[in-house]
């Protein structure tokens, strides 16, 4: 079942060999294609490389670190100008990073983190800031409700970084408003089914949900499930209960266009642009580069939802 990405990966690699030498050559060791978000991430990097005329050598590791290490070694052997890694796991990168450094090739880490004692082993890490996503969602909600709001929270998988940090950022802002608070919080495990089931029970535990003001969900999938539960409880999602979430998946834009959801903070898959920017600066001789570059997607609301939905589904 993992054959198509391998083939396309191999094809991309083969094609990139065939191309005439471009201005710069960048190797990209991607995790694989385990989710829709990851696919958009890869597509976005490829599109950005094409736009800038960068010769991108793309490697799909099929969720295996050993494949990524192999890919990085082959990038070093090909003497690329820079390497980007979206690591599968945090540990085990030291030997291969040292090889890249010996060959004087800068390495940019994307998305997930890596753990090395010597931070000079890589140039910088570019990733989304989950805490900031939580903050933005809370800021929007507080602005919308004037800081007077009883909130239900659907948490992500217990222990997941995205869940912990989004919760933290959200609470940070809510804490400044004495009349706002999370009245109930449960995990919906990032899935639609659980989101719906948990929302059903939470609404009943809150006496039908008429007193509630908003739902804060750690991702769009759970929110979409919960919206159905709100509707089945005889309430209007998006009006009686505001819905704010994180991710920006097409189905959620559709819900916003229909008026059943209110806002989402996009978890941006467009990490390619900032990465190429940093590489350009480094190759241009700039050595004053931050070790951590965070990107936070914009908050989208109902006003632009229909248009965004069209854009994202290519319709």
């Amino acid at each position: 079942m993992r054959i198509p990405p391998l083939l396309t990966g191999a094809l991309a690699l083969a094609l990139s060999f065939a191309q005439p030498a471009a201005a710069i050559t960048v190797g990209f060791a991607q995790v694989g294609s385990e989710s829709g978000w990851r696919t958009s991430f890869s597509e976005s990097v490829k599109a950005e490389a094409k736009r800038r005329g960068i010769d991108l050598k793309f490697s799909d590791a099929q969720q295996k670190q050993e494949n990524q290490i192999k890919a990085v070694r082959s990038f070093v052997a090909q003497q690329v100008d820079a390497i980007m890694i979206a690591p599968v796991v945090e540990t085990g990168w030291r030997p291969v990073l040292r090889e890249a450094r010996r060959a004087d090739i800068p390495v940019v880490i994307l998305d997930r983190n890596i753990r090395v004692k010597d931070p000079s082993m890589y140039l910088t890490r570019i990733a989304s800031d989950f805490v900031e996503e939580g903050r933005r969602a809370a800021e929007w909600l507080m602005q919308e409700t004037g800081g007077n709001c009883d909130i239900l929270e659907l948490q992500g998988t217990v222990g997941a970084t995205a869940a912990i940090d989004r919760m933290k950022g959200f609470k940070e802002i809510i804490g400044e408003y004495p009349n706002a608070g999370i009245v109930r919080s449960q995990t919906g495990e990032f899935t639609r089914t659980k989101g719906k089931e948990v929302m059903e029970a939470m609404l009943k535990a809150e006496g039908g949900g008429e007193e509630l003001c908003a739902l804060w969900s750690h991702n769009d999938e759970m929110a979409i499930g919960a919206i159905q539960a709100i509707r089945e409880a005889g309430l209007k999602p998006g009006e009686d209960i505001l819905v704010v979430s994180v991710d920006g998946v097409p189905d959620y834009f559709k819900a916003m266009a229909e008026g059943t959801a209110n806002a989402t903070v996009e978890l941006t898959p467009h990490l390619g642009g900032p990465a190429f920017d940093v590489i350009d600066r480094y190759l241009g001789g700039d050595r004053d580069i931050d070790k951590q570059i965070t990107t936070t997607g914009d908050l989208y609301t109902q006003e632009t939802a229909a248009e965004e939905y069209r854009k994202r589904t290519g319709g």
Binding site: E197, A201, K204, E232, G234
Partner: protein
Amino acid sequence: MNNLPPAAAKEQPVSPAGPRGLLPPLNGRYLWPLLGLVLLLAINLVLSPEFFQVKLVDGRLYGSLIDVLNRSAPVALLAIGMTLVIATGGIDLSVGATMAIAGAVCANMLVGGVDSIFLVVAGGMAIGILIGAVNGSLVSFLGIQPIVATLILMVAGRGIAQLINAGQIVTFQNEAFTFIGTGSVFGVPFPILLVLMVFAAIQLLMRKTALGLFVESVGCNAGASHYLGVNARAVKMMVYCIAGLCAALAGMIAAADIQGSDANNAGLWLELDAILAVVIGGASLMGGRFSLVLSLVGVLIIQCLSTTIIMSGVPPKYNLVIKSLVVVFVLLLQSPRFQAQMGALIALAKSKSNKSVGERAEA
């Protein structure tokens, strides 16, 4: 198995407790799981009295009790199939993945423009039976251990579903199909009715025909059953097909409920919930004696517990610990040895307190 003489049926090594009525007699075996369920409901009564409120909203019954029944429907269907499989001494780990595949097949038929709801449902059911037949063939004709045979599709099945969905969540808008998950008849949610129908059909088949006896005899001693003229292979084949069919129905409920097929998460780990329900219901994993009613009680205990945890507002990180503690408690309740020891402890405490009361009276 059609040529089994009636005399042989009477001499089966297993005879289920009590007369073969359609509904079971209320004896010790039925008492303890039910007691567990009643205890759980009592806890809910204390935590939130509104748990038992049932009212009509938009022409359908609405309340936590209805939620428990409605949400337990997929696992209930899985448990019905699983009970039969376990009764033959087997196990089916692939039912969760089967749910995902059936959901994916139906969703793609709907998106692909198949208008006839009957065709879509038939397609989903057919794929369930097909998967059951694959499992059944591996177990009965190739003699592969059930846990290994069904593990194959448990792991690969989810991949097949992902392949059908091309890695995306396939969503659809179809009122007729959505009815399976969210519709209601006379206010009763359709998933509950579907479970009742499947239960009634299988219970009739198992208790009013000799089939139930064959299933139990194959589970008890496949060799002996063979010599008595029971076609053990056909019986095993049949139970895996029923399990596959039940899983497909559960998968359709799950897909219809969220109006989409999520290959990664539909039915994830539900095979384990189904096995747990059957075990809570007191069935032996070694095969033999089974009771569909008790398995359903087991399902209700599990679902009631999940709803209770959400309603009670405990932090999510305690969910699984609480769940496992309650399950251990319910299983202990059923253990004859535990009952005996508790009985002895209570008797001891009584005699002591009697003694102390007596001493005080003397003083």
